[in-house]
Amino acid sequence: MQYLGLYNYWIAVILMMTGFYIVISSGNLIKKIIGLNIFQVSVFLFYISIGKITGGTAPIKTDAASIYSNPLPHVLILTAIVVGVATTALGLSLVVRIKEAYGTVEEDEIHSQDEAW
């Protein structure tokens, strides 16, 4: 029964590893960025699970509640989400330029075009 308390963290680790697997094993650049997004969301899940207090409520002060969940991880993850979308946007624009320069977004074809120079 004690290990049921760690279910959230293990799911976060499984999702992290799935995203990691997509990044390292996929040859398509867009698929890699999708894997990176999955990885990032699983990290957010991990942090927010740490901040939850049983019986607590959202950290907005009302008269009806006395226990609030920890607001500090929420602030960190807000920043992380925004930074994540910034890097995704830049990565996707680089993919568009690579496609225009090489004609493909598959990693092995790009490498073979580079070695043929």
Binding site: A58, I60, L78, V82, A89, L92, S93, V96
Partner: protein
């Protein structure tokens, strides 16, 4: 997609409400969930919807790209300006207590309002600019 009458009518009905909701989220970020980032993204989503239905040319007439690019910098300047105001009035950088002589808590409110406005303006303008760049690339 302009000739699809259902899409056109529904988009024209929805877009004002989306913009209004974005303003609501921006200014009620103190009392409920919300704040600058969420409001900026929702504001940009209204412009994305307009672009999808009516085309990039019409959208660029509504939100002129040069103006939007200037607004990107205006938001950051507003944020840093509030911080420098704190120095000019005698406190530290980004110290909101000194923004109001009589009541520090009121000064905090004012400071938070100003910087969330700066964040909202920058995020909305950046999202619109990024979307226009992606959408405008395919046409030679």
């Amino acid at each position: 997609m302009k000739d699809q009458i259902v899409l056109r009518v529904i988009a024209k009905l929805f877009i004002p409400f989306i913009l209004l909701f974005a303003l609501y989220v921006q200014f009620h970020g103190d009392y409920g969930p919300g704040g600058g980032f969420q409001a900026g993204v929702i504001f940009a989503a209204a412009f994305v919807l307009y672009t999808l239905i009516f085309g990039l040319e019409a959208a660029k007439k509504v939100a002129k790209p040069n103006l939007v690019q200037v607004l990107v910098a205006v938001g950051v300047l507003l944020y840093v300006g509030t911080g420098i105001m704190g120095i000019l009035l005698g406190g530290n950088f980004l110290d909101y207590n000194v923004l109001d002589h009589h009541d520090p808590v009121h000064g905090q409110h004012l400071g938070i309002l100003l910087i969330e406005l700066g964040v909202g303006i920058t995020v909305a303008s950046v999202m619109i600019t990024i979307f226009f760049s992606f959408a405008g690339r395919g046409q030679s």
